[in-house]
Subunit: 352 residues, 2 copies
DNA sequence: CTCAAAATGAGTTGCGTACCTCAAAACGCC
DNA sequence: GGCGTTTTGAGGTACGCAACTCATTTTGAG
């Protein structure tokens, strides 16, 4: 009876800097110096103050700190030019945050540049040095870009790679998915949905030169080879993320191989691939897996031409990038579980 | 050349209340009265001030507002007692937020109570009245509970239902998934993974009396009936979310029906069901779909007994509930896209 | 026009931190 | 023990808003 309801408290701590100063027997100024790694404090005192901060799990009041800084923080998002729908969705979600951003006095600037040209991208990044508190960049993995990122980091700017990573750089964080795992997921889905039926599998990508496409292909082949070896994988087609070209390539392939049972589109151009499938009258019989959720892939899922869309949530990526940059700028821990981008499997019935 | 790089700005606005007051030709006090719906301002003045606030897209500085309130906000999470792993995960993720919470001077209290007894739950909720700024509750849909929620809302407390909704109440928000869609997703997966093979489908739930289970069953049957009518669905078993009981029921069923090709577990007890499958030596041949990602279902997925886990991200639910309560308390708009809980399809290769 | 009620202005205080200055104290070195 | 240097204390200002008081002006009803 008495124990029917129990209570627990998560996080209390209403301590202030003044409390810490009193407990440490020093002045506010000294605590402030320790907290911000400012010089002029004896090592022994630094240790004592830090110990008391740690012992009391003291957290500076974010609101007060933010207010006291005065100036607003500036973040830059370096995104590809051109009509990539996925990138446009990210930009759109940033726009939806504008009220949230301005209520926190955060300035986010969009910088569209040719991220596929390493020297152009590197130059764009160099130009940001010193101007921004944080930079999120859809980056190509190239030595020049890596160097530009490292320069930014050295200059004190927080850097987050978005969608596409540059693991060899010293960027603070990567917001995006593991593309090998995404390719594996695609492979497992194609294989499982095809079932026992023997036949061939077609695979088309934008280009093998794109890191994310290459990784997806790698993961896909890995799974197909090890678990669905009864299925024959046709040589990779390169559709250059273009609808017309993809449609032509797939049409020709379908004509040549009447025994195709599965199809994986690694990159964009899904509409073109779907057209080819429909024209051949094999839209419902061939298992078709593609990437990203757009108005178009949503339609294809609902009408059954597309069986699965593997996607990374662009809204989540946009918001995670902003939150991570903000946490980094505040020297606040990152909620890693929250900022991790999942590989979404979207079928007709779990469309968001 | 000149247009290689373009720039865009998202959200600026560094206006303060003082600016608004000046532009409206009124004093700070009046703007404050308008902003907080305090009495003593002529309707015409209210309109004029509001218009200027709207025209300039003025956003009060969150940090300043938070600092000025003085007192911390108190939120209560009313969760079920007992060893439900999913609920324990939510509580664990709340614990992981503790640094984040205390840096914002937010107090979150866990209140464990018997949420399955309407009168006990209603009493627990009534007891919170006036004590908290916000309440998140895993609620049973029952008239007494509905009334208790409405009382809280009327008392000015923000209320969010968590995992399980009470749509007939006036709760401000629901953080959780659409269980009918989850059931439909399960049905589509079972049907598609089984493929052409004819046979029977087994389905076991905790209880038909639980709203979420009933909804999932409904969605599952909907899809199976309309799209996979060649598959025969066996009568529902009730395992009461208990491993042993579920194992016994499924073992008996497997013995009786050698032609079972698919199995859907609506609730808990997945370990028991898996045991029965393994003992019968049919773990890999029967398509098995269950709910929730735990250490156990993760293991079953990796070893291939379980084919798909349909899950809602407990960490996301915990954080979304806190964020929504905070936004509600601040009278701030909610980023609905962000707070929406997705139905995750988890297979071996996209395990987070 | 009068007068009470309503509306508004002007001002204050405090929230907890960042950042700054200047004086005072403690320290280490010779 | 005296010196310069380093360390520390004390205090102030500012950030933008909430919440309050009190005086003053405006308004509308009679």
């Amino acid at each position: 009876m008495a124990q029917e309801t129990s209570e627990g408290l998560i996080a209390s701590a209403a301590l202030t800097l003044k409390d810490i100063a009193r407990e440490a027997g020093v002045s506010l100024a000294t605590v402030d110096r320790v907290l911000h790694n400012r010089p002029g404090v004896r090592p022994a005192t630094v240790r004592r103050v830090q110990e008391i901060i740690a012992r009391n799990a003291f957290q500076p009041h974010v609101a007060a700190a933010e207010l006291a800084r005065g100036r607003a923080r500036r973040f830059a998002f370096v995104m590809p030019t051109g009509a990539n729908p996925f990138m446009q969705q990210i930009e759109a979600y940033l726009g939806e945050m504008s009220a949230w951003l301005s209520a926190r006095r955060l300035n986010v600037e969009l910088i569209n540049t040719d991220v596929f040209d390493p020297s152009v991208l590197a130059a764009s990044l160099e130009a940001l040095s010193g101007e921004y508190d944080g930079v999120a960049v859809v980056a190509l993995d190239h030595p020049a870009v890596r160097a530009a990122i490292n320069d930014l980091v050295d200059g004190g700017t927080k850097v987050v790679t978005l969608v596409s990573d540059v693991p060899s750089s010293r960027r603070h964080h990567y917001v995006g998915i593991d593309n090998i795992a995404a390719g594996r997921t695609a492979g497992a889905l194609v294989g499982r949905l095809v079932g026992q039926k023997p036949g061939r599998i077609a695979i088309i990508a934008g280009s093998q030169g794109l890191r994310d496409h290459a990784e997806r292909i790698f993961g896909f082949n890995q799974v197909m080879g090890s678990e669905f070896s009864h299925l024959d994988i046709l040589p990779l087609l390169e559709g250059r993320d273009d609808d017309d070209r993809s449609e032509q390539l797939i049409s020709r392939l379908l004509g040549k191989h009447p025994d195709i049972v599965g199809l994986y589109n690694v990159g964009a151009g899904t509409q073109g691939v779907a057209n080819a499938l429909t024209e051949a009258g094999r839209g419902k019989e061939i298992v078709f897996v593609a990437h990203d959720l757009t108005a178009m892939t949503r339609r294809l899922l609902l009408q059954g031409t597309l069986d699965v869309a593997i996607s990374q949530n662009p809204g989540h990526e946009a918001r995670a990038a902003v939150r991570v940059l903000l946490s980094l700028a505040r020297n606040e821990p990152i909620l890693s579980e929250q900022e991790k981008i999942r590989i979404d499997i979207l079928m007709r019935d779990n469309l968001p």
